[in-house]
């Protein structure tokens, strides 16, 4: 996703001189080409995320469309107040990009596990929150974020579902993509864990339990309509996110459905529970260790009753 992001941003930067990329001294080998091609649209702010975000806001208030780039929690939690007070309150065109969503850097340890970012970022008024599930969604969301005004958060993942777009498909922020049709249950996914979700859905379908799959690439604004339809039309809703269960996709889904007065036939949130991940490992290892593997998704659907 990281490479897709920088590739698309390069295409856009060529056409739009307002685009400006600031890194917090990360992206070795990844950003070099961008810097060489667009020296007037690139800045390494050093290992100083608060200043990076303040700079981004200042540049954005002067008319630029800025992307801040770092990994894990550095461009988000480290400088959260700058995102809130400086960028978001001023409706500045600051797009915060974190590579390494969830357990992407699982073996590096707790400091590099980005597991609370979605709920924290979505709580900030006016901030659009996007976690693409595949490469196409990644490229499309970069273009869409440039085209809209305001402060946004783009969570990129090491894992990806590859390419899932259909011919002629149009991407829209805030509109979930229906990747599998079915009524046994709806599995709603955000981020690169979409690959695991699709595998689980295909496995379930092979067993005769045919589920709807929604790729909820935009956490905010949330596609409430798709969720209400899923609650009404299918056997229940399972949300899947590589993130704590509090306040992310699962929490947002529960809020949206209760606000609408719609009770799904079943409801299950898959995500990190019970504290920090204290062991390290690859992204797939940690998903298994902490209940976010293909088998956990299948079990959640089974537990729901296996269909209507």
């Amino acid at each position: 996703m990281r490479d897709v992001f920088i590739e698309r941003l390069s295409v856009l930067a060529e056409q739009d001189p307002r685009i400006f990329l600031i890194t917090g001294d990360l992206g070795f080998g990844v950003l070099t080409k961008f810097e060489e091609r667009f020296p007037r649209q690139f800045m390494n702010a050093g290992v100083a995320e608060q200043n990076m975000t303040g700079l981004a806001t200042g540049l954005a208030l002067e008319g630029r469309v800025v992307f801040t780039y770092s990994i894990g929690n550095f461009p988000t939690l480290r400088c959260l107040e700058q995102i809130r007070n400086d960028a978001a309150y001023h409706d500045a065109n600051v797009n915060v990009v974190s590579v390494g969503g969830g357990f992407s850097y699982g073996a590096l340890g707790m400091s590099h596990h980005a597991m609370e970012d979605l709920s924290i970022m979505r709580a900030i008024p006016g901030v659009t929150v996007v976690a693409p599930g595949d490469d196409w969604e990644t490229a499309q969301s970069v273009s869409a974020l440039v085209a809209q005004r305001g402060t946004t958060y783009l969570r990129l993942d090491k894992s990806t579902a590859g390419r899932t777009e259909r011919e002629g498909e149009v991407f829209q922020l805030g509109h979930a993509r229906r990747l599998r049709e079915g009524s046994a249950a709806t599995i709603v996914s955000t981020g690169g864990i979409l690959a695991t979700v699709l595998k689980a859905a295909d496995q379930l379908a092979a067993e005769g339990i045919v589920c709807r799959v929604l790729s909820m690439h935009t956490i905010k604004p949330l596609d409430t309509e798709s969720l209400i339809a899923a609650a009404r039309e299918t056997g229940g809703i399972v949300t899947v996110e590589e993130h704590v269960v509090e306040g992310g996709l699962g929490g947002a889904t529960a809020e949206a459905l209760l606000d609408a007065g719609v009770m799904p036939n079943g409801f299950s949130r898959i995500g990190l529970r019970g504290g920090f991940a204290s062991v390290v490992g690859s992204q797939s290892y940690l998903r298994s260790e902490y209940g976010m593997a293909e088998s956990d998704i299948i079990a959640a659907v089974w537990k729901m009753g296996g269909g209507v």
Partner: protein
Amino acid sequence: MTVNKPLDTRTLAGQIRRHALRMTSIGGSSHIGSVFSMADIIAVLYGAVLSVDPNRPDWPDRDRFVLSKGHAGAGVYAALALRGFFPESKLATHYQDGSHLSGHVSHKGIPGVEFSTGSLGHGLPVAGGMALAAKLDDAKHRVFCVLSDGECDEGSNWEAILFAGHHKLHSLVAVVDYNKIQSLKPVAETIGLEPFADKWRAFGWNVVEVDGHDHDALPAALDVRGKPGDAPTVVLAHTIKGKGVSFMEHSVLWHYRTARDAEFDAALLELSDAS
């Protein structure tokens, strides 16, 4: 250089102080000492240095002004009203229910406020971004940022100071209202800043030191116009917290206290005598 006729900055400073005294008194709000220490700086900036146009608050060539010590926002609101950005009568709504004139400076609904602050250590990084844009665009305007001394405890400021020095953001002018008192105690007893000028120099800045209440010296000290390739400039303005009202001067108490009744009358009398 101003678009309108330069104002008499001493008169302006007196008006700012009297407005701020009334505003904080009506609102029952704090930080009058912080407003008074920078009142002369603000008066000279808005009266004689900043190129701004009340009729076109978003004029692209305007000098940018960021108040990083947002708790002294009453002083900037007063200066903006006195410069004609909005009616002076609006100042009476400061701190009141439903008002846009918040206790910490906010841009929403207030023409002329470039940037909202209130949490310390936010202004300078943003001013740095504005100055970087000006440098990249070869623009002629300047970016001023007024900080408090206590605020220089914030690490984000030192990130910004490192960055601006390294990248020679020539249009950036930081002004420290160095009143030597922070929230609980004197700066020297809290986190000492000295040798303060040397610190800025070591980070690659030009340093100007000035008496922050001297209207003969302030215009020249503040009216900095760097050229491409020049370092950014910091003006260390030595000031007195609570300046202008004898019983408020050099006092931690008046970081918080609101002047009411006899104190208010006494303060207003001193300020009226002064100009």
